[in-house]
């Protein structure tokens, strides 16, 4: 497997290639080779990495596709979302089980081990399970017909095999939690969360703003399109940093690498790196966006299959997900167009799915070597590629707002659920507000001002009591 690091100089040198414009601006603003070279260890093998980049990116760059094995079938898995939402990159990291390699930064001497596999994630003999159960693993009727003894043996075997990873060598000790009292908790610092949090902080409210990723900006950070800031065209990473600076200047307490995990009437539990926060706000704004899920096609879980955002993120760190990449999804989608251009500029061969065709099956034994595409069975043909940007559904992340008492309403047109809020961001709970795509609201300054107005009205009402 060829290393996939991009030489930023070659992108800079392609100055007359219009497709390379945004990537060039991105690499000028945030050079992907800025981190000091370091070495991490993966299952006993030394891997050259850059300090600060996600471990999963370091491994991808070195051509390691398979990081883990699936829980029942032991199918090979690799990073798919690169944003802490899937199980593809779960590893044992420095003796700690079940760490997502996409959220942990590389640094010298980090030890990455595969788990749930024998002898390793690369070659796992337990893969036979996948072949033994060609369609499904029906645990309700497993071995029942062979009598109780066989069933008991199978049960005890299954129990031994179940679960993810093995216990850490040392007991965990978490530091005492921090309790934060504030006017407003804003969950999710994508473009909408940043804008709403900044306006509320500027109006003099105490704002605690949390973002689960180590940086703010959400999809904008990874986008390979232009953004306008102060009358200038900037890349998504720069736009995100400028918005963060504005939020900080407004006096908000900003927490990154801070995941809101659970919401109760009295507060919200946030975990920030290795510490828990107990946030007790007077109002909550959920601006935590969307989940992404890969469509239903054959072997859609194979290493080498990525969401568009993951492929864009890898580029941000100076890594292309493949040499030959099939980009699926609608024609003339601005994000996908920009991603395809940037992948080409980064030296990959890009194939787009032809009009009307769909991805039928990913081909390959343990990672992607091709794709079967077509308008139907009769029309199906093979495309050779070593990575697939899969068709992806983005659907509102309604769960946290749901825990806070907001109804998750069905959206029949889009076949999904969304947190139910009105155009002012108000919900059935008067102290809970929803903003942006979590409630299917797009990015609109008018709407964001309306949401800020609703939150302020509630805070004002509470003060009068």
């Amino acid at each position: 497997m060829a290393p996939r690091r991009i030489d930023p100089r070659s992108v800079r040198a392609a100055s007359n290639d219009p497709n390379a414009e945004v990537l060039r601006a991105l690499y000028a603003y945030a050079p992907p080779d800025a981190g000091a070279p370091c070495t991490i260890e993966h299952d006993g093998r030394s891997i050259a990495a850059r300090e600060g980049e996600p471990v999963a990116i370091s491994l991808l760059a070195a051509g390691v596709d398979t990081l883990s094995r699936s829980v029942k079938f032991h199918r090979p898995r690799g990073p798919m979302c690169l944003r802490g939402n899937c199980e593809g990159c779960l590893v044992r990291l420095d003796g700690e089980p079940n760490r997502m390699a996409c959220t942990a930064p590389s640094r010298d001497g980090r030890e990455v081990r595969s788990q749930n596999s024998f002898p390793s994630a690369q070659i796992d003999i337990l893969r036979v399970t996948d072949w033994f159960f060609p369609k499904q693993f029906d645990h309700h009727h497993l071995m029942v017909r062979y009598g109780t003894t066989i069933n008991e043996v199978m049960q005890s075997f299954a129990r031994k095999m179940a679960g993810l990873g093995t216990l850490p060598e040392r007991p965990e000790r978490a530091p005492a939690p921090e309790t934060i009292d504030c006017d407003v908790l804003v969950v999710g610092l994508g473009p909408v969360g940043l804008s709403v949090a900044t306006a509320l902080a500027r109006a003099g409210h105490s704002v605690c703003a949390v973002e689960e990723e180590p940086f703010v900006g959400g999809w904008m950070r990874d986008s390979l399109r232009w953004f306008d800031r102060d009358g200038r065209r900037v890349c998504g990473a720069e736009a995100s940093d400028r918005d963060l600076a504005a939020l900080r200047a407004a006096g908000a307490s900003v927490r990154v690498s801070a995941s809101a995990c659970a919401t109760f009437d009295d507060g919200t539990i946030v975990i920030q790196s290795d510490r828990a926060l107990w946030v007790r706000p007077r109002a909550r704004v959920f601006a935590n966006g969307c989940h992404e899920s890969v469509g239903a096609f054959g072997d859609n879980d194979m290493p080498g299959i990525f969401t568009a955002r993951a492929a864009a993120r890898a580029l941000r760190y100076g890594v292309r997900v493949g040499e030959s990449v099939l980009v699926c999804g609608p024609q003339e989608d601005p994000e996908l167009d920009a991603l395809s251009d940037a992948l080409s500029a980064a030296g990959a061969t890009v194939h787009r799915l032809p009009e009307g065709a769909s991805l039928i099956e990913a081909l390959g034994a343990s990672s992607v070597t091709g794709a079967l595409v077509g308008k139907g069975e009769s029309d199906a043909h093979k495309i050779k590629c070593d990575a697939i940007v899969a068709p992806t559904s983005r659907t509102p992340a309604f769960e946290l707002a749901g825990q806070a008492g907001v109804e998750a309403a069905q959206d029949l047109d889009r076949q999904c659920f969304a947190a139910r809020g009105d155009e002012f961001g108000r919900t059935q709970r008067e102290d809970v507000f929803v903003a942006g795509s979590v409630a299917h609201g797009g990015r609109s300054p008018v709407r964001e001002r309306a949401i800020v107005g609703s939150v302020e009205a509630w805070l004002e009402k509470g003060r009068g009591r």
């Binding site: 699936s70 829980v71 029942k72 079938f73 199918r75 939402n85 899937c86 199980e87 079940n98 060609p134 369609k135 499904q136 693993f137 029906d138 645990h139 007991p171 965990e172 000790r173 978490a174 005492a176 939690p177 309790t179 689960e212 995941s259 809101a260 995990c261 659970a262 919401t263 109760f264 009437d265 009295d266 539990i269 290795d274 510490r275 828990a276 989940h291 899920s293 890969v294 469509g295 239903a296 054959g298 072997d299 859609n300 879980d301 990913a362 559904s393 659907t395 309604f398 769960e399 946290l400 749901g402 825990q403 008492g405 907001v406 109804e407 998750a408 069905q410 029949l412 076949q415 999904c416």
Partner: protein, 111 residues
């Protein structure tokens, strides 16, 4: 060997398994979850809930009225950290959860 279509990656639930479950009578999203175990793994349904709801809708003719109950934690957290919250967060506070969505497995739309 034929390809598998994975609807729930975390718990290895295939399209064939979900279709089999629907055929065997699990015709609402809560029952389907309980039968197949989709959404009970690492990601807690971030990836699979929608895929399974869409397959269900195609088979029974209507999209579920409400999703499965989004239970805490929505993001994996170490038990040590949960334990560390003991003094700050009392049990009676945690019982006042504003639950939304079709709870108690009574099917769609029950509150």
């Amino acid at each position: 060997m034929s390809a598998k279509v994975l609807l729930c990656r975390c718990e290895d639930v295939t399209l064939a398994e979900v279709e089999h479950a629907i055929e065997s009578g699990q015709r609402d999203i809560e029952s389907l979850k309980r039968f197949t175990g989709f959404g009970t793994g690492w990601c807690q349904g971030k990836q699979c809930l929608i895929s399974c709801a869409r397959v269900l809708a195609a088979r029974v003719g209507e999209f579920p009225l409400a999703p499965v109950t989004p239970r805490p934690p929505v993001h994996p957290m170490p038990l040590g950290m949960l334990a560390s919250l003991g003094d700050a967060v009392s049990v009676d506070r945690l019982e006042s959860v504003g639950a939304a969505g079709g709870d108690h497995g009574e099917g769609e739309g029950e509150r």
